[in-house]
Amino acid sequence: MITASEVMRTLEMFDHQHLDVRTITIGIDLLSCADPDPRTAAENVYEKIVRTASALPHVRDQISKEFGVPIINCRIAVTPISLVAASSKTENYTLFAHAMQRAADTIGIDFIGGFSALVHKGMSVSDQKLIRSIPEALSATKNVCASVNVGSTRAGLNMDAVAMMGSIIRQTAALTAADGGIGCAKLVVFANAVEDNPFMAGAFHGIGEGESVINVGVSGPGVVKHALERLPDHASFDLVAETIKKTAFQITRMGQLVAAEASRRLGIPFGIVDLSLAPTPVTGDSVARILEEMGLETCGTHGTTAALAMLNDAVKKGGVMASSHVGGLSGAFIPVSEDEGMIAAVRNGTLSLAKLEAMTCVCSVGLDMIAIPGDTSASTISAIIADEAAIGIVNNKTTAVRVIPAPGSKVGDEISFGGLLGSAPVMPVLNASSEAFIARGGRIPAPLHSLRN
């Protein structure tokens, strides 16, 4: 029997600690939509997405009401479009992005991901067409997200793709200059991308997945912070880790229940719960503030990497038993613009790009939602991607880069994206050139898996 205090504590999490299910994401296989006529293929894409997912918003509302659990977003992830469009006779894949947007509008969902290409070893003709279409596709649509996987632990790092992505990011920023380069907020460059991630902008439906699948992402930095606040001062890390584990268990159980219920009602198999601690720009929903609660004056100071490593590990340990299948990106996210504490730490000069890079070695997922000066060169952006990808490839983890070189912006400016994307102070990058390094092209070989040091 649940006690009155358990009921009240649970309600408290929803009411005052911003506990929510961040997203129910339906993954949809689109390989069956391929057609030599691009217009037919795009129409197939639209039709299949709508047919599979049209009940999602209604089911979300029902579940949210019955359980009293806020469910923030409904999203869709599709098979990488570079595969779906490969047989179509066209040079420009933007019409597929339009079909995705149209489906998103018809159903009434928040984001649709999968305008993607997997090029960790090499780029097919179709992959190249897709990548070249990204700037136009992201500027012509509102809710479509794109991702490109440029490296993997098994294949190494495709430096030709890395070089290309630096300039694609700049072009995307230029085409969406009027909105602070918001196109770049919908574009992620991955290493070791996962096939069942429910979070945007990097969600796509992997080719190892079935016809359709339900993946759920939870959120809950506020609940973790609140649980730590209740500990006695000077509580040891043993106790801190235990507390985080227990809290992560509760958060994940909620996600599992919602996922199982959504799966049953939609008649779509349950895939995974993603155990991520995903912050929002709202005060009280910040990962940075959890790290500060552990005793750091400001996130980004010495000790931050260790604190984050512990948090990330404890979240996984607590969450893994609470769900029948855990997957996706599972870990603590550190998107700068979406985390009120991170924004404050950048503003006061404590949190730098270099420290963020170090932090990504021990958490999910990478350099995320970071505004950099508008005049940052394509080769510098490529070099940032290469560094981040190398961390993922060598350490056998997913890493990603989502940077926004907002046109005309300078260090200290503030770029606002609105909603869950928040606002970002423009951070400095180093001025010394990486041009010759990026110009080499080719592939950085896959790392050795023995003699690990």
Binding site: I2, V7, M8, Q250
Partner: protein
């Protein structure tokens, strides 16, 4: 596939929480509405602390044609009249988050 009318056994039990300033007739108003919807009360905990009224009820829906969603809408009307916050939530959310 879920179809209307088909109910899962654990969709029949819910926690109702009533929070707000204490006044006369709260329990009367809430339980009258429950009777109207054929809802059986299994357990009640109620406290008043510094004029703040808190009541937690575990209830069971006995009429299969009444859904938690409908009960929740009906309770919203009671909440408006009383000027309180009333929530109806399925029991399993509390179970799953607080029990292994």
């Amino acid at each position: 596939m879920f179809s209307p009318g088909e109910t899962h056994p654990n969709e029949m039990r819910a926690f109702i929480t009533v929070l707000g300033r204490d006044r006369r007739g709260i329990i009367a108003a809430v339980s009258a509405k429950l009777l109207e919807y054929s809802v059986n009360i299994l357990d009640i905990t109620q406290t008043v602390l510094q004029n703040n009224f808190t009541m937690i009820m575990l209830v069971e829906l006995e009429d299969p044609s009444v859904t938690i969603e409908q009960l929740s809408d009906a309770m919203d009307q009671v909440a408006d009249v009383l000027g309180m916050v009333i929530r109806v939530q399925r029991e399993d959310i509390f179970d799953s988050m607080n029990r292994i």
